[in-house]
């Protein structure tokens, strides 16, 4: 079987990839994709620990994380659409005013 630490290494690597995407990308939608990547990395850790302890709690927690990530994606993309309709751009650097 695959040792738990290898799964945790994979989760850490995915989390850091998501972090790098959030820090460097300019397009709002790509930043949201980075957030999804980080949430998935957390999920992988939950599943790995659930396997290590032979319990279901980690799996149930990761199910809730999946639901909340879907909710986050829906609201985030709705906000991006709204901001795009106003500013005519999805570039974070050019969205720099909070008043109409």
């Amino acid at each position: 079987m695959v040792p738990t630490s290898h799964v945790l290494f994979l989760g850490a690597a995915l989390f850091c990839l998501g972090l790098a995407i959030i820090l460097t990308k300019k397009n709002t939608i790509v930043v949201l994709m980075g957030v999804e990547l980080m949430l998935n990395a957390a999920n992988l850790n939950f599943i790995a620990f659930a396997r290590m302890h032979e319990s279901l709690e980690g799996q149930i927690m990761s199910l809730f994380v999946i639901v909340l990530a879907a909710a986050e994606a829906a609201v985030g993309l709705a906000l991006v659409l709204r901001v795009y309709q106003y500013f005519k751009t999805a570039d974070i650097d050019r969205i720099n005013s909070v008043r109409e």
Partner: protein
């Protein structure tokens, strides 16, 4: 190395490759496909780790729902037809450096821990116990998540509506 182990590392490589592609590519549409590869690989890893129901949910919700939503977002926010949709980067050195440092820290922490040996007994299907647990121990959380999803979907539809939008520069003083 057994076949399952080899398959596990293959799917791990697919997951990491999709993530790296997401980081490197400049085309937003390709980035969405990279995300899809990552999420599919992730679902396979869940199945290998004994979480078959979570893997199926991952495919249903992420690959079937979130990626489609992201694709819609890409197509609705980039209406320059015939022109490549680019996503440029900024603060590259600082961002990559910070992420690498964080990865090194996490890797050191994981490496220095003594993890218990994972169970080698193959698990039977998890659908039944998860359903029982959701209907007994986690009933309140389950219902609350349902209400939250309803509110979120109504709110997202309201926020993304088309009417009543002023464009920048066209506002009346």
């Amino acid at each position: 190395m057994s076949v399952t182990q080899a398959l596990f590392y293959a799917f791990a490589a697919l997951t990491l490759g999709g993530g790296l592609f997401l980081l490197i590519t400049k085309n937003v549409l390709y980035a969405a496909y990279g995300l899809m590869a990552t999420l599919l690989g992730m679902a396979a890893l869940y199945v290998f780790l004994g979480a078959d129901f979570v893997g199926a949910t991952q495919i249903l919700v992420y690959v079937g729902g979130v990626v489609v939503l992201v694709l819609f977002g890409v197509m609705l926010t980039n209406r320059l037809s015939g022109q490549k949709i680019l996503s440029l980067s900024h603060n590259r050195l600082a961002g990559y450096g910070l992420a690498t440092l964080f990865l090194a820290g996490l890797g050191y922490a994981i490496h220095s821990m003594n993890w218990a040996e994972a169970s080698t007994t193959p698990t039977e299907g998890t659908v039944k116990p998860i359903g029982k647990a959701l209907m007994t121990d986690y009933l309140l959380a389950f219902e609350l998540v349902g209400i939250l999803l309803l509110i979120v979907l109504v709110g997202a539809a309201y926020v993304a509506r088309l009417s009543g939008i002023k464009e920048k520069g066209h506002t009346t003083e």
